[in-house]
Structure formats: C-alpha cells, structure tokens
Amino acid sequence: MTYVDDFPGEARVVRTAFAVAFASIGLGGALGVLQALFRTGYSRSLFSAVDYYSVLTAHGVLMALVFTTFFIVGLFAWGVTRSLDTGFRDLRFTWGWLALMTLGTLLAFVSILGGIVGFIPTHAAVLYTFYAPLEASPTFYLGLALLVVGSWGAGVDYVLTLRDWRADNPDERIPLQTFMAVSTMLLWFVCTLGVAVEVVVFLLPWSLGLIPRVDPLLTRTLFWYFGHAVVYFWLLPAYFVWYTIFPKLSGGRLFSDPLARVVFVLFLVLSTPVGVHHQYGDPGLSQGLKFVQMTSTYFILLPSLLTAFTVVASMEHGARQRGGEGRFGWLRALPWENPSFSGIALAGLAFAASGFGGMVNAGLNVNALVHNTMWVPGHFHLTVGTAVALTFMAITYWLLPQLTGKRLRLRTLAAVQPYLWFVGMVFMSNAMHRIGLAGVPRRTSEPQYEQVIFNTPIASIGELHLQTVGGAFLLFASLLCFLAVVGSTWLGERGAKPLAVNGHIPSALSGPEHSPRVLDDFRVWVALTVLLLLIAYGPPLAAMVQNGLFAPGSAPIPA
C-alpha cells in the first residue's frame, strides 16, 4: 500500500502544498535568470532599473519564503502522518491553514506585482527582508502575516496529531520523523514571534498610516530575531530527509537515531539567540552584544558537523551493504543514477562548501569585508538555494509517486537534473563570491559607478559576469527538467505501472531505546530555549524601547 492509498485526504493536502511550492520555484527561477542578466548588463530591456527591485523582491519572497514554507508543511504533513500511521484529526482544519497560507501568498505576490504593472495600485519593492524604512502597501504585510499564521496552523495540526497518538501509545518513543517535524515547528513558533510582532505591531499599522514612524533598529532586530532561525526552518526539513530517507536511498540505514534527536534539540535551543550576527553593521547595538552572539553562532556549527558525520557514515554503511569496498572505493557502489540519491549527495556537498563561507560571514571582523556584497547571495544560493532546494527537488522524485500513485516519468531528465543544478550553482556561486570580494554590492540593479573600478582579485569583472549568467542558465535548464518530470508524472495515469518506490523506512542501527526519554520531552527544550532567548534578546530589546516604542534611534549609540 502506498501513502496515497492509506491516506488519500492527507496525500491531497501534501500535493496541493507541493503544487504551490513548485509554481513558486518555477516563477522565481525565471525571475532569477532575468536578474542575473540585468545586473551583469547582458540584458536591460525587459524592465527598468527601478523595477529591478520589485523583481528581486518577488524572487526572494517566492523562493525563500513561499517555495520553502509550502514544501516544508507538505513534507512534514507526509512525515508526521506516515510515521505515526494516523491521519490528521480533522481535515477541514488542515485545509483551513493551507488555504490561509495560499491566500496570504497570493496577496503578497499581487502586491509586489503592483510595483511593475500599472493597473494594480500596490507596491512592495522592499525585498524579502522588508525592513523599515522601506515601506510596502499594507496588503503585502497582511499577506505575509497570513502566510505565517497559516503555517502556525500546520504546526498545531502536527502537535495535535502527536498528542492523539501519544494518548494511544503512552509508552512508545516518538517516531523520529514526527520528532523532527515537531521540533522544527517549535523552532518556527519561537522565531516567527519576532517577525509577527514586527509586522503586526509596527509595519502594518505604519503602512496604514495609523502610526507616524517606527524605529528601524527595533524592527530590524525583531526581523533578525526571526531571520537567522528561519534558515534552520529551511534547513531542518532537509536534514529530516538526510537523516530519515537518504540512508535508505544509499542502500542502508541511519547510523544513530539518538544522535539525530540530539541534533534537532540543539537546533531548537541554539538557532534563535544568534540573530544579531546579521546586524554586525548596525549602529546602536553594542560590540559586546555582537561578540556574544558571534560566539553562540559558532556553537551552531556543532549540530551541523554532527549531521555531516552521521549522514556520511550512514551513506558509507549503505554503500558497503551494496558491496562497496576500499577506503574510497565504496563511493562507486552508491546509486548515482538515482536522482533522489544524487541530488541529496550533491546538496550535502554544496552545504559543506558553504559552511566555510558561513564561518567568514559569522566573524565579527571579517564580516566587514563581505557585508552586503555579492558574496552574500553567493553564500546563500549554496545553502538555501542548493542544500535545501536541491534536497527538496530530489526527494520529490521519491515522494511524488507515493503521493499520486503514479510512476515517475521522464526518468532520464530526472537523472540528469541534480547534476545540472549542482554545476550551474558551482559557476554562479563562485562568481558571486568573487565579485563580492571585489566589493560589488548585492541588491543593486546597475552595480557600476563612474569613478569606481572594482578590483577583482582574479579574472576580470566581465569574465565573472559571463560565469554568473552561464551558471544561471544551467540552473534554469535544470529547473525546467524538474518541472517537466513533475508535470508529466502528475498528468500520468494512476496505477498504470508499478511505482518502483515505497515508503518503508528501515530502522536505525542504533535505535531510540539507546537514548534517554527526556529527549522526547519538548517542554524541557522549549523552556531552555525561552531562557536563552531572554538572556540574548532581553537587554538589547529593553534598551531599544526605553524611550518609546515608536521613536526611531531610541537606543543609545555606543561611543
């Protein structure tokens, strides 16, 4: 029995969420290519240099906020119901939150579109970080608020399903997939609180004209309280795939279930009290605070290194099960033709590389070299743009048949797709990093100035621009392959051929019985998280609101 037979209603929910996600990445990818062409000066005729910022907002929102969130709520809906072997309590509630998210997305997207087409009276060229003093139409903020509130509904749905299961199975350990989904959603609850306050208390009333001004530092701080943790909200679902499905794709089993739980708990606890590492350039925050949060940032390397270890170990175990031998020879025994496998393996490789850049970004002093340059998009196209996005695309090849009951089609395109994405990203991201080292700013439609010649360390700017655009086209070609596979599979006939995949996941080599039960007690971890947050964010936020909630520049500026 496949998932769609066991849980037809839930499968439909997951498919709908995925459909929105795929529409977003398709559209966002097309905009990405246009941006790359515009910035590099290859083509500037399709829209104006001013419209560039609306296009860039749409790309950032569609990719980083919409594609990710919709895929994640779908993936977790599958993981929770599959691993608990029980459907959602009430599908009307489930459809309710999904509808809310979709409505919010449409509202936000149309608001951005208004900046480009004349007949929609809205504008939202505020980029996906939407800080003050940039101001968008109220509909944009409202749309984002609905998207977030809807996703809270998803979290509630998973937690309630777990509660019901718990009542029936009081002595069992929480299945790993549900454990991961719930800890990620708890992280999401904790961190979205910051952005919810930013939007609902400050930006929305301000854009409606109800309050005359907001404090940019306060709202930025609230944003980055959310803005770092959100990267783990993107990443942990990829880890969910790496830990629970990837070992099977490699031909083996997960090495250690307890280690996986520890990793997720560490992320829950450590992800939020580090947001200030995005504000190293902000005046009004003390050096001491920046230093402390830099230190905690380096702590979160730990769970990622644990992940690298476990995932590679599980992969090697699988390869040896398949007859692989030798110190490195086992790599050849892996199923590189299977795009679900290769996509995740390449995603992991990209993530390992991006970790080095991440350490540069996180260093308080070194950050000044790359802050707000093209280096930064170069970095996160490896993380969210590849480690996360490529994992999601790869696992779609494995999930979609189980969600539709239809065998995957256009398999050759599917098999090539992850390689195209990976190589395209190597070119684009490498060029972006190097252009950034020369000091070329990001988020700039025409990054050239009469009196400035950017001194690229190696190769000329022209060569790097060519490399950027070449990479962008490879990425887009890869995206088209992905959409073609998904589209034609979806349109295929149900049950016509055997699926050739099944949702069975072998148990871990070291199971949960080897870990203390307290790991499963989320109350402890949430309490610890809140405590750390109070320590990390209490004093600076208190200082900022001292001379009034809405007074800009209220924080004392250090001498």
Partner: protein, 185 residues
Amino acid sequence: MTEHAPTPSDDAGDGDAATENDVWSRRSFVRYLAPVSIAIPIVVETETLVGLLQNDFGENSAWTQPTGVSVGIGGDLRPDLNTREKLQNAALEAVEDGRRLTLAVAVRNTTDAPYRLALGAVTTDGGETVEGGYTTDPVAPGETTSFTAEYVLPADATPASVETTVTIGNQPSERTVQLAPVPTQ
C-alpha cells in the same frame, strides 16, 4: 509503520532500496556525470585559490607594490602623516601622443610649521617612469591649497604609482603612493 522497533521486515529495507535503485541503473551514462560534476568545483575552486594566492604573493602582487594601500579618488595620499593630502580627482584622457593623466590634489597644513607637497614621477603598470609633477608654494599653518599635475603616459599604459614628498619645516618625507585604477574619460 513506525521506525523505532526493529521488526523482521526492517531487514528487507535494504532489499527495498535495491529494487528502487534498479529502475535507475539502466541509465548508466549518468554514472559518468558524478565524477565530472564533482571535478568541476574542484577545478573552479582550486583555480580561485591559486589566483588569490598569486594575487597576494606572486610577482606584481599587492605585496611587492610600493605602498600597501592604493589611493583612489577621495583618498588620502599620505595616510601616514597628520596633514591632509586629498586626491580630489584623477582622470585619464586619450591625447595625440598618448594618454594624459590628471591628478588634482587639495592639501591642508595641519601642523605648526611651513609645509609643502611635491608630486614627482609616475610609474606605469609596465614599469616605465614618466617625469612630471608639481610642487606647491609653502603653505602656512592652518592654510589650504590645491593644484593639478599632468603627465603624458604611453598610449597603452595605466598609472600604477606616484612619488610624493611632503616637507614639514625642513623635514622631507618621501613615499611612493600606489594609485587605484583611474577612470578613463
């Protein structure tokens, strides 16, 4: 279908994966994509690293240049001194017998002693020396002045550095100042 308690069917897990992978194994050409795809970043990143190292340590690297920091428009020609020697403008312009380099400088004497600034020869990226320059009249304490110096470089040359001499009281201080790329008019 929970994954915690090992059951006999768990061991079939590996077998499962094998059948799942069988459908793919016919596309064996894809196997070659893996080593190629992994070699590409290794080549690209190695090239980048070697380039960066050459840039720092190789011939003509920033380290072998006369001063560590190159000065562009708006920059301070002599950050080592307390006085102000601001490069107000710099431009290259094609002329009949080559390219004319114009350097406009504004100075302020922040010391208590008489002061003068001399711009001397310019060295091109090819290593040629182009004579020329300008020497200010003595500038009284607290006073300012500005001037323009012109040089005619060979047609394909770009300026790399300029000699400077600041004299405070009777104390001359010489330094070769590396120039940032100068915009062409």
